[in-house]
Amino acid sequence: MALINVAAREIHCKIVYYGPGMCGKTTNLRYIHSQVPKEVKGDLLSIATETERTLFFDFLPLDLGKVRGFQTRFHLYTVPGQVLYERTRVAVLNGADGVVFVADSNKSKMQENVNSLKELAQNITRQNKRFAEFPIVMQYNKRDLPKEVLAPVQTMDHFLGVTRMHWPRVEAVATVGTGVFETLRAISRAVISKL
């Protein structure tokens, strides 16, 4: 639910990166933070364990400047992907306007992807939102994996129900930034189309 502050002429949108553990959510935010112009980004805030796994969330505020007189802000979050942190994900997802689902392209991670997506659907529904209408963009990350372990795009589409749900889908290699901004553009568009 975006917030439009008419007096201050501000619009805020919250975008959450969701997905199984180690799929590359934090890597997406780090890359965005490293690339956007200084005047657009705030500090990247990461609450992580000693081993760099997300414990609570990463948070990156982006200030898009004035659009038709409205100061527009996007707040990007990642959830902690480890199964253990299910309730923490519920907390971070609270009030989200859109979700980027980062799926791991490793064949052996397909079940984890599916479980995480199911959990997301449940959590969105619990917030009294219709999952089918909720802005979601799919990112197939780690497309640089060796052929032997790389899941074909069609297989992933099938397992994750992407074609049926009409979600935009982006192939990515977050470590080098491939597809990261395409994903961000897609979710931003999906979110503002619901404003």
Binding site: M1, L3, V90, N94, F181
Partner: protein, 164 residues
């Protein structure tokens, strides 16, 4: 459209009510700071001394902490979890929920008694709840506020800033 997906629009006159309410709360309790956040962590208004540079991060963290505390409460089968209190060496933080949508947060030091904060916060949350109620009631068309060309301009901005 799904009502849960529509935006919350805070008009000028309601923001004034909110500001007055927060200023009064700060003055009457002798607190340092009062913040009104959306449950998504966005700052709607902040009142108190000093210009905080870290207000955006503070909003995100407080909303996150509060949402996690609620999940803890749920696991403990606590049905009515509407407030939380954190005690520090110098500063204390009292957080109260307004209708599952907004979060009121008061930051105060040893000079202020928590009892007073609780009582006056209750008054303030009632007041803010009626502001929220009015904000929800008004069905102002989005286009009326944003202008019909807003979306196109927004898309152009996104394409310009989020480039590879």
């Amino acid at each position: 459209m799904d009502p849960q997906l529509t935006s919350i629009i805070v008009p000028t006159e309601e923001l004034r009510h909110i500001e007055e309410c927060l200023v009064r709360l700060v003055e009457d309790t002798g607190s340092d700071y009062a913040l009104l956040l959306d449950k998504s962590g966005q700052v709607i208004s902040s009142q108190g001394d000093g210009d905080r540079q870290d207000i955006t991060a503070l909003g995100a963290l407080i909303a996150g902490v509060f949402a996690s505390s609620r999940e803890v409460a749920k696991l403990l089968r606590e049905r009515d979890f509407r407030a939380s209190f954190q005690q520090g060496v110098r500063e204390n933080i009292f957080i109260a929920l307004i209708e599952e949508q907004w979060i009121l947060c008061i930051i105060f030091n040893k000079g202020t008694h928590i009892g007073l904060v609780k009582v006056l916060t209750k008054k303030a949350t009632d007041e803010l709840a009626s502001v929220l109620e009015r904000v929800r009631q008004q069905h102002k068309a989005r286009d009326e506020v944003l202008g019909s060309s807003f979306r196109t301009s927004m898309e152009d901005t996104i394409d310009l800033l989020f480039r590879d």
